[in-house]
Symmetry: C2
Subunit: 429 residues, 2 copies
């Protein structure tokens, strides 16, 4: 019974189900490490990644097994690096995939879908990665959950820390939107506003991670954390009837989400759960004011030169993207592209999605919609391509940017006054 | 396949499935009317309500049929007044029911659940009623969707209007929170800010409904609209394994939600889908600054005297509740109660829920948690009662009220500066 499944998913499961993780492995030199809170290779300083025993996965996984699972991201537990009984379940994941007919018509795309994830517990995709990282932090017996954040991550870490009863410290640039600061502080986290860019915040946190036994979800827990993003590939494939889309459009900050969606699709193909992901083109969208990955793509080099961000899309304001190099590799192997949304079109993108599909996204979503429009116009996405645009955050957290376009008619409660006010408004528009 | 179901639910269904509605019926004198956009009895001026052919419902409905349905509120289509092919589906409903162990421990409640509905498309329970009302408005061939709103309704009507391609007009008191105004305007609705209370807004809209062919979801569409709230009873019963809780705590504004949850539970019992709802006690929570239903309950009269609202919980600021009388009747027949949350405890309630369960609610949710605490303390809810608290709105829409409690530590990106700032903070707390 589905409801029972959903209900049970809120409590810890009794039957232990161990993860299929084999080791951590360096993405550069291939050195293997035990499953510990480590993120950099001792030999070559390359980033570590979770390595699975895919034979063990293949023996148990099936479409049917997934379909019978909980209505959350934990239905894909076989491909996540957490023992099932440790999963800190806040009902994250299995968010809707919506057919976007109205927006598709505007952009000339006949098979457009929106994967929207702002229905997660803290209203961004970060709940997926934090669910994994916080479960892992409990497993490693950390007392403190922490992060360096451009905004959404702070809220998610704070909420998960509250639910898990952990001490929580979140670090962010002090110019962050109010909704994101409030949306973290409300859960009782210690908020640290750093007078600097995200990249400076990140450096401070890396130093802190070296000197304190704190679980920084996106630093020392990063190999586990980033795996949570794969669920955005699994869900889309399942919701499309077990197939990969022709095109994905994904917002780009560190580049981690982008590379992990690609990894997830390929895992499904390798395991025979979908036919193939060979036809899928991966497109990454950045805001023009912070588009180092787009610049590298345009210059045809995998080496991403750091920039100082100056963008309205603060959640994407990472000037030195940790997965920039791998993002370019993902574009190359999928035949995709990188696209920059002009700063002045970000709010237009937010409006367009809201007015056509009734979905209110934040600046990162505005970047995706603006990027999608460019990709459709340039022919990089063709009219009949089965296209999925990832909308990863919620507009209520970045209200400042749409404030100028909100313009109510004012009236007294008297009928005649209202008619007069409306007539005046209609004359001016 | 579940995913397929969810996917299909985004498009209109092909097989027509007509609703089981028989007529509209006056709640006072029982006069029957055809299914039209009418809301007041011509004879006695009583409110009209949808009347179903329950024999027809009983012939088709079953737990299995519901379980096979879409993962949205439309799984209960047999008990909603909309023909299936008209349903305007924005993935509303079937939101999580969360076991609240941490909060339960704080309040001495061993079986506490949170039904949270801020994961709906516009982040409040209003999407449930507007889904029904907007579908009905399309069926009646209205061009304009409208409402009188205390905030959340405006956002929901605007989003549904955008998705349906309708002209949209939303009316609200001009002192509304910014997040609620923005959260409506972004979808392209015409915003009308009325210098007055909600009750004055409502009177203006009633006049407009008489003179324009506009579908005011909560005025001339009210009989259909209000039925959408029943899904909050159905889902809870299903998610509890097909049984009714011992106690429900529901926020009270017009009182409609409260009475419809009770109606929904009783429908399930009458249809044999649950054993009984006879043990369920219905508790309504209002903010002290606008608690006319609580006052009537305390004075042991079903006649609710209008008040002028003065409350932090603007979404509950209805001084003259349309369903006040029926709310008192619901309390009487269920053996429940009405409880007022002191104004100064509303923000405490918001904080308590966030810090224990990682759920960030708006002021209405703060009222519910504060009311729940009083009910537990007074023994009206007993420690082992299976209790469901309804959290109907999202904290990101009422950020103003928590602003004063958010207090970040400020630092430069230098490690030593951070250590100094933290030490200073720790001294002051």
């Amino acid at each position: 019974m589905r409801a029972g499944v959903r209900l049970r998913a809120n409590t810890r499961r009794r039957a232990p189900a161990l993860s299929n993780v084999k080791s951590l492995q360096c993405r550069e030199c291939g050195s293997e490490y035990p499953v510990e809170p480590q993120y950099v290779c001792d030999f070559c300083f390359g980033p570590l990644e979770v390595s699975y025993d895919y034979d063990a996965v293949a023996r148990v996984i099936s479409r049917e097994r997934i379909t019978r699972g909980p209505l959350t991201m934990w239905r894909y537990h076989d491909l996540l690096p957490v023992d099932a009984e440790m999963a800190l379940d806040m009902n994250t994941g299995f968010t809707p995939l919506t057919r976007a007919r109205n927006l598709g018509r505007m952009l000339g795309l006949n098979n457009l879908y929106i994967k929207h994830v702002s229905e997660n517990p803290t209203f961004s995709f970060k709940d997926r990665v934090v669910s994994v990282a916080s479960a892992k932090a409990l497993e490693f017996e950390f007392d403190t959950l922490a992060c360096a954040s451009t905004g959404n991550l702070a809220g998610s870490v704070s909420a998960h820390g509250a639910k898990a009863g952990m001490n929580t410290m979140v670090f962010f640039p002090s110019d962050l939107e109010r909704g994101k600061i409030l949306g973290a502080g409300i859960y009782g986290a210690t908020l640290v506003a750093v007078d600097g860019t995200y990249d400076q915040v990140n450096r401070l946190c890396s130093e802190l991670a070296d000197n304190h036994r704190w679980a920084f979800v996106n630093i020392n827990m990063r190999p586990f954390y980033s795996e949570g993003s794969k669920t955005l590939a699994y869900e889309v494939a399942e919701q499309l009837g077990w197939r990969a889309p022709d095109a994905c459009v994904v917002p780009g900050a560190s580049g981690s989400l982008f590379t992990k969606i690609w990894k997830g699709l390929n895992e499904l193909a390798d395991l025979g759960l979908i036919d193939s992901a060979a036809h899928t083109k991966m497109h990454i969208a950045q805001a023009e004011g912070c588009s180092p990955i787009v610049t590298a793509y345009d210059e045809d080099t995998p080496h991403v030169r750091p920039v100082t961000p100056d963008t309205i899309a603060k959640s994407l304001a990472i000037g030195n993207p940790a997965d920039g190099y791998y993002s370019i590799k993902t574009i190359e192997s999928s035949g995709g592209s990188a696209v920059a949304a002009p700063e002045e079109e970000v709010v237009e993108g937010i409006q367009l999605l809201a007015e056509t599909e009734g979905i209110f996204t934040e600046t990162a979503g505005g970047v995706v919609i603006s990027g999608l429009r460019k990709l459709a116009k340039s022919g990089k996405i063709r009219p009949d391509d089965l296209t999925v645009a990832y909308i990863t955050g919620n507009g209520l957290k970045t209200q400042e940017v749409v404030e100028p376009i909100i313009d109510p008619v004012f009236t007294t409660p008297a009928y005649e006054d209202f008619m007069t006010s409306m007539a005046a408004r209609e004359e001016t528009v």
